[in-house]
């Protein structure tokens, strides 16, 4: 079944209960439901209020630094000698990644609800830093839940968050990583319902989060559409973005879902999907329920959630946003993966040829592009979302690049 046979548009999901086909939904404890319903109502009201969007637009322009450029990566294009490669430069946003697009939106919703305190979960720390930033700006108290393992691995971001005034809660339950940080943030939220708003960092969680986060990230794709029309006079042939939870990817993809554009999401294959040590929920997982929604998950035969592995802490999550699971099953988006090693090579290549140090996350997208671009015609246009900058990754990456002889 082709996606065209499914519906006239793929842009009106989810339904009012948050379902993207069989995916999404609101699978949370009753203790959490009153909070979720409150967020649903506030989001619906904000979404339909033009003054909400004009306020957000002000911060997008003057604080985040939008629109981000669409840049023709000419040296990589020359190097690959195939299709033409553009980068959507979301790494140039304030705080160095796409995460701030979502955080500013949710912080404004929280303010409208009269909430004075913010909770967030973070893996690599990018979402935590973005949240701490918005909280400093809006004078909101900020508490960030982060796996104890990640607190150790991502010290620079922990320091940034502290400097910005956030309180860090190291999480030692479960496997002490991102999924456990999210469990703990949800637990904490239940006990602080009246004062706290939970800013989820990706297009996962119970409805309305997957929809709300997507709508805040869609600015990426909307700008891209205008920019490519101005630069080339036509839509691109292919879009590529990396996927952990999938917020940068859905932000780029969603405005193009009804267009004649090929769309590819790149998951993290870690040491290789066949080794079992990966974070490729679609390629190597199956549907299940976690963190409030039905989606593809890494799990064992008993339905216990297993740990993800990726060199990129931002992709190191055993699930994926429910909309991606839906776009995977209906075939609209093609999902592939790239290994740690392939991402490292792309990381080095991009730094050397473009003077852009990519985050390890978009390095996965570039790694996949490297495998297809050479055989594509010269007039084929690929746009990749450069969703974050790589400074945060140097400590982890440099020793490995040295070992690979890339330094």
């Amino acid at each position: 079944m082709s996606y065209k046979e499914i519906a006239n548009t793929l842009r009106n999901a989810p339904d009012e209960n948050g379902h993207f086909g069989i995916f999404g939904g609101q699978y949370v404890a009753e203790t959490l439901m009153p909070l979720i319903i409150e967020v649903c109502d506030a989001w619906r009201a904000s979404k339909n209020d033009p003054s909400f969007w004009s306020e957000l637009e002000y911060y997008r322009q003057h604080y985040i630094g939008r629109p981000s450029p669409l840049y023709l990566a000419s040296r990589l294009t020359e190097y690959f000698n195939g299709a033409k490669l553009y980068f959507k430069r979301d790494e140039l946003n304030h705080t160095g990644a796409h995460k701030i697009n979502n955080v500013m939106g949710q912080a404004l919703v929280a303010r409208r609800m009269g909430k004075t305190k913010i909770i967030a979960e973070t893996g690599a720390g990018q979402h935590g830093v973005a949240t701490a930033t918005a909280c400093a700006l809006f004078n909101l108290e900020c508490e960030v839940f982060m796996g104890a393992e990640d607190v150790k691995r991502q010290k620079p971001n922990v320091d940034r968050m502290r400097l910005l005034g956030a309180k860090i809660h190291p999480v030692t339950s479960g496997s002490s990583t991102l999924k456990d940080a999210m469990n703990e943030a949800l637990r904490y939220w239940v006990s602080k319902a009246e004062t706290h708003f939970y800013i989820i960092g990706t297009v996962a969680g119970p409805h309305p989060y997957p929809e709300m986060v997507r709508d805040f990230q869609c600015v990426i794709g909307e700008e891209t559409k205008e920019q490519i029309m101005a630069a080339e006079g036509r839509l691109p042939d292919t879009l590529v973005a990396c996927i952990g939870g999938g917020s940068n990817a859905i932000g780029l993809f969603h405005p193009f879902l009804d267009d004649e554009v090929k769309i590819i999401g790149v998951e993290a294959a870690g040491y290789g999907v066949e080794t079992g040590l990966h974070a490729a929920s679609l390629t190597g997982g199956r549907p299940g329920i976690l963190h409030g929604n039905r989606t593809y998950l890494l799990q064992n035969e008993d339905g216990q959630i297993t740990e993800a592995h990726s060199i990129s802490a931002g992709l190191d999550y055993p699930g994926i946003g429910p909309e991606h699971s839906w776009l995977f099953e209906n075939g609209r988006v093609k999902y592939v993966c790239a290994t740690d090693e392939e991402a490292l090579e792309a990381f080095a290549l991009c730094s050397r040829l473009e003077g852009i140090i990519p985050a390890l996350e978009p390095a996965h997208a570039l790694a996949y592009i490297a495998t297809i671009i050479k055989t594509l015609p010269k007039d084929h246009i690929i746009i990749m979302n450069m969703c974050g900058r790589g400074d945060k990754d140097l400590e982890a990456v440099l020793p490995l690049l040295e070992k690979m002889g890339k330094l």
Binding site: G25, V28, M33, I37, G174, R187, G288, H291, G303, I305
Partner: protein, 277 residues
């Protein structure tokens, strides 16, 4: 389709109501700290005064549970616990005990993964008497609540201090078995039960529903049990019990010979607080 007919919950509450007595529910996680020890604890519970058993199906990501039950779930999984083994334990328990109600409590993913119809069939065949699936609110009733209802298997609802009366109507719509009132805003085992608020909430629930009311989360001592069973049909104790298991283990987290007895003597002590006993 197989139907649930045992009716152990109704029989229990009817009997207790006629005696103006209340019930003690004890939570343990299936397979904590290992299959054999867990089964022996389970088998010993009724004799020590547990009127019903809330039997935890271990899960890797217990979102609504506090540190004690999280740790208990982790121990069970590390010792090889699974949904299949949980059902095996229910079967073995029923060989010797055919009257104590068993309510399976857990999260939806292992059930969904097992297959809903297969799960319901095996639950009924094994001899369990109801389900509490924490992450299935009324919004997702089509998943398991309605299929369970079609088999006449009780599906117990949670309500919380934050549940408004408007919301309560939705929550109680498909509720069966009993109502589980979560006494605190938060996760299991963290704070003490606030008796005044609970009294008020239980009174309100009784106006809205004819189902028995059980109170849980934050009941830690015999005094708590005394206070709660004076106002509600049942008090459920979980974290304290699994803490007793945790505290009895050796340095490697393995059961010691006294693990079973120390856990059961805590239950005996709690049971002494139950109204009408």
């Amino acid at each position: 389709m197989i139907k649930y007919t045992s009716d152990r919950l109704n029989i229990l509450f009817k009997k207790l109501r006629s005696k103006k007595a209340s019930a003690l529910g004890i939570f343990i996680t299936a397979g904590d700290p290992d299959f054999d020890t867990s089964l022996k604890i389970m088998e010993g519970l009724p004799e020590e005064g547990a009127d019903m058993i809330e039997f935890g199906m271990p899960f890797s990501d217990p979102m609504a549970d506090g540190p004690a039950i999280q740790a208990s779930s982790k121990r069970a999984l590390e010792a090889g616990g699974s949904l299949k083994k949980t059902l095996d334990m229910v079967r073995l328990f029923r060989v010797k005990n055919n009257f104590t109600p068993i309510i399976l409590m857990g999260y939806y993913n292992p059930i969904y993964n097992f297959g809903v119809q297969k799960f319901l069939t095996e639950v009924i065949e094994a001899g369990a008497d109801g389900l509490i699936v924490v992450d299935l609110p009324p919004e997702e009733d089509e998943e398991l609540c309605i299929p369970a209802k079609e088999c006449n298997l009780p599906f117990v609802r949670l309500t919380a201090p934050t549940t408004s009366n408007e919301r309560l109507t939705t929550v109680l719509q498909n509720a069966t078995g009993f109502i589980y009132y979560v006494s605190i805003t938060g996760i299991t085992g963290t704070k003490d039960v606030p008796i005044e608020l609970v009294t008020h909430a239980v009174k309100n629930l009784k106006e809205q529903s004819k189902l028995p009311i059980a109170v849980g989360f934050g009941i830690k001592t015999r005094e708590h049990v005394e206070q709660v069973t004076r106002i509600a049909d049942a008090a459920i104790v979980g974290s304290e019990v699994v803490n007793a298991i945790a505290n009895s283990l050796d340095a490697n987290g393995k059961a010691k010979p006294e693990t079973i007895q120390t856990t059961l003597s805590l239950v005996r002590d709690l049971a002494a607080g139950v109204r009408g006993k």
